[in-house]
């Protein structure tokens, strides 16, 4: 009997050495890339879960079947990301990749006081309404949009399981710190942090526990055990290690422990450079975090540090997939596989595979374990 993807995933979570290569899970991360490889337009995969599913099936025929897959189709991922976006077929050509745009949603640090008064859930709902195109004017619209997301998710998660694949997460969120950074925009948020981090820290400490409880409810409702956490703003690309230790880590650590107590793995989508931050993940319970690296963090150093403690995924770089050769991808994967045989490692791309990746390079990732 061939091994199932779920068996491989569980094996990885056990953090014990792999006896053979076939035990290691593989996750070439794609979302919009399915459209490009599967020959379905970006407009279609952003507007219809069915079209996206069609593109996934076509892509699998070409590059082979991954063990793990993004379970939410692009139209909803864009909505959940919490940034204003340009959409193919709306503001962009039909076959362009959707784009997030970062522009300041508020430009007065007084807004932090307002958040403390209003409470995070009310403020965040208002923020989500305001960044839609066109903006939502009635809270009912937001409720309806979440309802639609629920219906779509039922379909896409059902599809993922029916194919024997494992969803990357069963529920997803961005920490309050990261949402604030995106809403205020990078430069101003950084200045606020340097000038007076007090109100920001107050917001995080006061409201992150409640936000986590809500996410736990969402994951449980989905009968799941993994939460995807999109936290790129907490990396050393954006803040200093000192700020991480003082401001981000105490709150993140409590979140990890809260999810762990609820039986949920914290799947940290760690885009950008987290190298100086990795040591902190030895402080939380063994196996409580799964870290997805994008090629910017030193993966070998991280693996040495966390081996036997937390699992990691990574990290064939986007540039290699677009411009490199099959041999280069193979060699890169081989190095990662050799490194990861001591357990707790998932072979994958660094974040999402770019739209101009060569199909044969993507196939080479899957083939390096299954070929």
């Amino acid at each position: 009997m061939p091994r199932s993807s779920m068996e491989r995933y569980q094996k990885m979570l056990s953090l014990t050495p792999y006896a053979e290569r076939d035990e290691m899970p593989v996750f070439p991360m794609m979302l919009a890339t399915f459209g490009a490889l599967g020959g379905v337009s970006q407009k279609d995969i952003c507007n219809s879960p069915d079209k996206w599913i069609e593109s996934v099936l076509k892509t699998i025929e070409i590059v082979g079947k991954p063990d793990v897959i993004m379970p939410v189709y692009p139209g909803d991922t864009i909505f959940l990301m919490g940034l204003p976006a340009r959409i193919p077929g709306r503001e962009l050509p039909d076959d362009a990749l959707y784009q997030f745009i970062e522009k300041p949603y508020f430009d007065d640090p007084e807004e932090y006081e307002k958040i403390l008064q209003m409470g995070w859930p009310a403020w965040n709902a208002k923020y989500l309404m305001d960044i839609q195109t066109p903006p939502f004017t009635d809270p009912g619209q937001l409720g309806a949009r979440f309802g639609q997301f629920g219906a779509n998710a039922a379909k896409t998660f059902g599809f993922v399981y029916s194919q024997g694949m494992v969803p990357d997460f069963d529920g997803a969120c961005a920490p309050i710190f990261d949402t604030l950074s995106m809403a205020r925009s990078m430069f101003d948020f950084t200045c606020d942090l340097m000038d007076d981090p007090g109100p920001i820290v107050d917001i995080m400490r006061k409201f992150q526990p409640g936000a986590d409880e809500q996410t736990i409810g969402q994951v449980k409702a989905n009968h799941g055990s993994r939460v995807g956490v999109y936290a790129m703003r907490s990396s050393s690309t954006f803040i200093s290690p000192d700020m991480f230790e003082e401001i981000v880590w105490p709150v993140m650590k409590a979140s990890i422990e809260r999810f762990h107590a609820a039986g949920i793995t914290y799947v940290l989508h760690a885009d950008a450079n987290w190298t100086p931050m990795m040591k902190y993940f030895t402080e939380v319970p063994r196996g409580s975090v799964h870290i997805e690296l994008d090629g910017d963090t030193d993966i070998e150093q991280t693996y040495e540090l966390l081996c036997g403690q937390q699992s990691i995924r990574g990290d064939v770089p986007a540039t290699m997939l677009a411009y490199g050769t099959v041999d280069e991808v193979r060699a890169y994967c081989e190095k990662l596989i050799q490194m990861g045989m001591r357990g707790g490692f998932m072979l994958g791309s660094g974040c999402e595979i770019p739209l101009n990746a060569k199909p044969e390079n993507v196939k080479a990732i899957v083939d390096s374990l299954r070929g």
Partner: protein
Amino acid sequence: MSTMDEIAAAVEKGKAKLIKDLVPKAIEEGCSAQEILNDGLLRGMNVVGDRFTRNEAFVPEVLVAARAMNKGTELIKPLLLAEGNQPLGKACLGTVQGDLHDIGKNIVKLMVESKNIEVIDLGVDVPPEKFVETVINEKCDLVLCSALLTTTMPMMGKTVDALKEAGVRDQVTVMVGGAPITQAFCDEVGADVYTEDAAACANRAEEILKAKRSA
């Protein structure tokens, strides 16, 4: 500590409010705007830039240092003009067409400006023609292109080609950068210089312009 040392230290620590008091104090003491710029503001910024290159300082430190430096240059701008301060040269900078990432580009701008080089910031999503037009109209010495996406990297090659077509390729040094860019890619598209980070970019830009001046 002299006022000039205090200015450099305030920039280094990102204390824009201190700069507001220190710069007028230095002027009162009879320092020239040129001195305040070079021995105070830019010196402080260069320290941060070097620490950034050595991975000892991070983006937030660079941003607040630059904010303090800019506060200071704003205060001495009229004096600098009156003294006839000549920037080392002129650069146009932008994120290439199709790409909206600008955090790295903005840091490049701050660092290059900290070498007393004038930077015309064309923003994001900049088509090749816009670079060409700016080079011609503004007589730029440097073209600085940033790209963060594998799908937009080829626009750097298109920009080099457009400069050639317009007959101005030889007048400018084309520098390229951004996380996915490599030296090999720089060579392949016919650009002149690649550096990994913004501080190195500023150092190279300074070298190139100094060499051009003494030539």
